[in-house]
């Protein structure tokens, strides 16, 4: 799968009675790189989760590769098309090996090779709940590489460098920007935002172009 365009129209998301995201219009062309910035609680994570169908109360229209998701099959396609690096990796109710997390990308070989580049391949036999925040974040980045290898055309990365040291942030940024996908990255890392094509800022659930 090649890079896919992402198009949002009048997207709104609610957390109970609170409007977390409202009236968001966004176009990211195939292969584009967008940095999404904004204060904590401005709706960035909720917006990415809505693209993946993980936020249940979302309105408006979201198209990835020109396709909206309505049925279970549509959502399955959407989640294959969009690789995801979560902001807060799940604590997990049950143990999962880092190797199993890498393999969940569908391309264990490529994910493991990316894990080696990021210095976490030797942790494949460790349970993810025993990894540090930085190790886990690198593992999720490597998993995203595996997802791209299996055909994801979009990468939704939610603060993918937040838990990393300075060298790690640079390595992660190099990796993210080297992938042949459309990249939407939520970040507070100015260096990473500066390397993207565009920066958009969210404030109180609304989006505005920052540069």
């Amino acid at each position: 799968m090649d890079a896919l365009d992402v198009r949002l129209r009048a997207v709104g998301c609610r957390h109970g009675r609170v409007d977390a995201v409202s009236g968001v219009d966004l176009d990211v062309p195939a292969g584009g790189r967008l940095a999404l910035t904004g204060t904590n609680g401005s709706g960035k994570t909720t917006l990415l989760r809505a693209v993946l169908g993980l936020h249940r109360h979302a309105a408006g229209e979201i198209r990835v590769g020109g396709r909206v998701a309505r049925t279970a099959a549509d959502w399955a396609w959407r989640r294959r098309a969009c690789a995801w690096v979560p902001q807060k990796p799940a604590a997990g109710r049950f143990p999962l090996l880092a190797g199993e997390l890498l393999a969940s990308s569908g391309a264990p070989g490529q994910a493991l090779a990316a894990a080696a580049r990021l210095g976490v391949a030797h942790l494949a036999d460790r349970a993810v709940d025993t990894l540090s925040g930085g190790q886990l974040q690198r593992t999720y980045l490597a998993r995203a590489v595996g997802c791209v290898a299996t055909g994801a055309g979009v990468l939704l990365a939610d603060e993918p460098t937040a838990a990393l040291d300075f060298t790690g942030q640079e390595e992660a940024a190099d990796l993210l920007l080297s992938l042949p996908v459309t990249l939407i990255v939520v970040t507070h890392d100015r260096a990473l935002a500066a390397r993207c094509d565009r920066v958009a800022e969210m404030a109180a659930g609304r989006l505005r172009e920052a540069a």
Partner: protein, 289 residues
């Protein structure tokens, strides 16, 4: 004294009901601890109580309609398992759903029993089994469970590991989460209800939940936890049954106490000691936590 005990034990083991009970416990040790791993993984530990009440509702329906009460009980449990599956999507997960199911089922059952004029304790008695009264058909059923449950686990181990770890991680990894949750809940519901009938309500915990709770502490992955659960189940069942026979005690409580002692012992062992047993976790972390 010990030779007298050994002689008594030898004689007891010649009895067909005792042999059947031993075989049933060994077969149960293969299938039911795996069901217990799902129960722990999905955080539905009140499932046994929920299924007892749902089964009672099924029996009430059977008595009211003239259909086979146990068949109605198993059907009710299967439907209840499937019915609560959508609640897994909610923020409260399935733990609260089991409590709700338990309350609703017992209320509906008591109402139906009152309407049908059947004594509630009489209906409950239909549900109670004993390990010493299992028949050939029961053994076949436990054998089928011993093959299908671990088989399903092995076949879908990747999807199961992701689902039991985190629902959203599983969703974004292409796992058919809703369908798999439904299958697991029906499997758990029917297995637990069936096991109550075969072995008695008390013994179900020793056969399902307790080995899984001990294994949860010892294993680092779904596969290792499952293998630990089956191994602990087999050892506990064999040891508890032999102790019960030797001391002429009822097997159910002895097996539960044996399994409970193993769970406590495993939780009292320091974490550092357990970590050294886990061969897979031998690598030390390379960066700071």
């Amino acid at each position: 004294m010990s030779s007298v005990l050994a002689a008594d034990l030898g004689q007891l083991l010649q009895l067909v009901p005792v042999q059947r009970a031993g075989a049933a416990l060994l077969l149960a040790a293969v299938g039911l601890p795996v069901v217990g791993v799902v129960i722990v993984g999905l955080d539905i530990m009140p499932v046994r109580f929920a299924m007892m009440h749902v089964a009672l509702l099924g029996i009430a329906v059977g008595l009211l309609t003239g259909l086979d009460p146990m068949l109605c009980a198993l059907l009710a449990c299967g439907l209840a398992g499937a019915g609560v599956a959508p609640l897994a999507r909610g923020p409260d997960g399935l733990s609260g759903a089991m409590g709700l199911l338990m309350s609703l089922a017992i209320a509906a059952a008591l109402l139906l029993l009152a309407v049908s004029g059947v004594n509630a304790s009489g209906a409950f008695a239909l549900l109670w089994g004993s390990i010493l009264s299992v028949g050939a058909a029961d053994l076949l059923l436990l054998g089928a469970l011993a093959v299908t449950v671990p088989g399903l686990f092995w076949w879908r181990r990747r999807d199961l590991a992701l689902l039991l770890y985190d629902r959203e991680t599983a969703l974004t990894s292409g796992v058919a989460v809703d369908r798999l949750t439904l299958i697991l809940l029906v499997l758990v519901a029917v297995s637990v209800a069936g096991a109550i009938k075969l072995t008695g309500a008390l013994l179900v915990d020793a056969l399902t939940l307790l080995p899984a709770l001990a294994a949860r502490r010892l294993g680092t992955s779904l596969t290792s936890i499952t293998l630990w659960a089956v191994a602990i189940g087999a050892v506990v069942n064999a040891a508890g049954f032999l102790v019960a026979l030797s001391l002429d005690l009822p097997p159910g409580p002895v097996l539960v106490l044996t399994a409970g002692a193993v769970v406590l012992a495993v939780h009292l062992v320091p974490e550092r000691r357990i970590s050294s047993w886990r061969a897979t976790a031998s690598d030390t972390p390379s960066s700071s936590h």
